[in-house]
């Protein structure tokens, strides 16, 4: 078993319930993660699946410390980053990259594609000069299958699938150790989804970064991921390698999730058993 890039122990997270915010005093909080423990093997793609409200997105955001956990250890490459403040986290940010779900909101509308990919390269000193940053950005564009001429374009001039590729280029250009993909194909139609996932698999083979792939679509996870974590209402229901989880699911909820997927072949009983 490859050694773990992430070792998570008893992770707790709660967020303020803004709906019931009083004028003064503390805002009541909702518990989101209820003591999770698991590992993310280095070099593998780990799927995190669950329905809406299962806490999978919050878990992803906590892994790369966009959210502060209430308790528990987040051991990243041998170092506990659960309690680090922004200052201490900054040097690690290069190795903790994220690709967002909504391609329309994750790219700054008033920046060119070249600037969106190039700026982080300068920030983390991957590129020494803006000229070098521009060249690296152009390379990144070609890696994700976009023509170099897109560097001068603005996000609103691109399609959903093309924007998602820019999001991927921004992340992989930094050659990070870990990338979080948060429902990155949920907004795309079938053919763009197939192209983006194939691209992701090629990039992972060439650059072997570790990835956590958050999704509500088990069929996609089955094709893409080496391991799968099934979540429900803030708890881990099952954590196994992908083949075992689909062929011999231990937990009833995993079975329910799998069997709820309509396979593209004609059969009579599926609707009746709903």
């Amino acid at each position: 078993m490859a050694d773990a890039l992430f070792k998570i122990e008893d992770l707790h997270l709660s967020l303020p319930d803004l709906a019931r915010k009083p004028l003064f005093g503390a805002t009541p909080r909702i518990t989101i993660l209820k003591g999770l423990s698991f590992t993310v093997p280095e070099g593998a793609i780990t799927g995190i699946v669950g329905e809406s409200g299962s806490g999978k997105t919050s878990l992803g955001r906590t892994l790369i410390r966009l959210l502060n956990p209430d308790a528990g250890r987040i051991d990243f490459a041998g170092r506990d980053i659960a309690g680090l403040d922004e200052e201490a986290l900054r040097p690690l940010r290069r190795d903790l990259q994220i690709i967002f779900q909504d391609p329309f909101s994750s790219l700054n509308p008033r920046k060119t594609v070249g600037a969106i990919i190039g700026a982080p390269l300068l920030l983390h000193k991957v590129a020494a000069s803006s000229g070098e940053a521009r060249d690296l950005a152009l390379d990144a564009l070609t890696h994700v299958g976009l023509p170099a001429s897109f560097a001068a374009r603005y996000p609103h001039e691109l399609s959903g699938g093309q924007r998602q590729r820019v999001g991927i280029a921004r992340a992989v250009a930094l050659k990070p150790r870990f990338i979080l993909a948060d429902e990155i194909v949920s907004g795309l139609d079938v053919s763009s989804q197939a192209q983006i996932l194939t691209l992701l698999m090629e990039l992972r083979a060439r650059m072997n970064f570790t990835m956590a792939f958050i999704s509500h679509d088990l069929s996609v996870v089955r094709r893409l991921c080496d391991r799968v974590i099934v979540m429900r209402k803030g708890e881990i229901v099952e954590d196994a390698d992908t083949a075992t989880l689909f062929e011999k699911p231990q937990h009833a909820y995993t079975r329910l999730l799998r069997d709820s997927i309509p396979l593209p072949e004609v059969s009579d009983g599926w609707l009746a058993e709903a």
């Binding site: 079938v190 679509d217 094709r223 997927i261 396979l263 609707l271």
Partner: protein
């Protein structure tokens, strides 16, 4: 061959200012009690067909040619108001996103009974009673309480059930459902699909089911039309479609669809050659169509 309840023949629709065709001679028919799938990816024009049936095309889009008939009556011949009233009495629509398809400042009861009262002329008390029975039929607990609630007080799944109840409220002979379960979790989707199938069978309604999910087509529908760039590229029975798909696009769509039982064969992106072939086919239909209109 029993008479088709909804019959669209050779429908072409285009953007007014550029003349680009969004629908290219679409023909399809749905018989009473039949569930017909309209399959295609976003941008293929699926929703445009639904809007054409109800006569609510956006202002910037015009009908170039083609007929839409319901119950044998040609809708193009009617005035916009008469057409809306005619359809309002016979057909219903189930929208995609339950979070935006209910009026946020109206109670659930009003949103189910409004068609009964104002279009079908049913007295208010009877309409509200009918609304309550419908909520039971869509398996919503405590219908009396739910009737007085506002949409933001219900879950996504419950709101979709309310929309289904509103659709079946006027005993429609035809229902057009536009991706009614795409916005729902997969476990809730299965219950909603079963609910729609059950009510459709019980009421013998003709159902035009719009989706991009081939699994839903296989489990729910009897016949299917595959749409690419506004053109029906394949139209057949569902068993036939999955057993022996004829058109290259249908095969490409099946290859791209993820499957957990055969992962290695799924998620195959379409090859550039295929994309070029499809583009040529669309261009040919347009030049052919332009030539015919020049002589016609």
């Amino acid at each position: 061959m029993t008479e088709a309840y909804l019959d669209i023949s050779d429908l072409s629709v285009a953007l007014q200012h550029s003349g680009d065709r969004l629908l290219r001679g679409v023909s399809l028919a749905v018989k009473p009690g039949e569930v017909h799938a309209l399959v295609g990816e976003s941008g293929a024009g699926k929703s445009m067909i639904a809007r054409a049936v109800f006569g609510i095309l956006p202002k910037a889009v015009t009908i170039l040619e083609g007929q839409v008939t319901i119950e044998g009556a040609d809708l193009n011949g009617m005035s916009q108001a008469a057409r809306r009233l005619f359809i309002g009495k016979r057909a219903a629509f189930i929208p995609q996103d339950p979070l935006t398809a209910l009026n946020p400042s109206k109670r659930i009861a009003d949103q189910i009974s409004d068609r009964l009262i104002h279009i079908l002329g049913m007295p208010k008390a009877k309409a509200h009673a009918r609304a309550a029975t419908l909520l039971e039929e869509v398996k919503i607990a405590d219908p009396e309480r739910v009737m007085r609630l506002y949409p933001h007080e219900l879950s996504g799944g419950m709101r979709q059930r309310v929309l289904i109840a509103a659709a079946f409220a006027g005993e429609p002979r035809l229902i057009v459902a536009d991706e009614p379960t795409t916005a729902l979790d997969v476990t809730v989707q299965r219950q909603i699909l079963a609910l729609i199938a059950g009510m459709q069978a019980r009421h013998g309604t003709a159902l035009l089911f719009i989706t991009h999910n081939l699994g839903v087509v296989a489990k729910l529908c009897q016949t299917a039309s595959v749409l690419y760039a506004g053109k029906v590229v394949e139209q057949t029975g569902v068993r036939q479609l999955f057993a022996d798909p004829q058109h290259a696009y249908t095969r490409a769509l099946m290859a791209a669809t993820p499957r957990y039982d055969r992962p290695e064969e799924s998620l195959k992106p379409a090859s550039p050659e295929l994309m070029g072939e499809l583009a040529r086919e669309v261009a040919e239909t347009d030049t052919l169509w332009a030539k015919e209109r020049a002589h016609g």
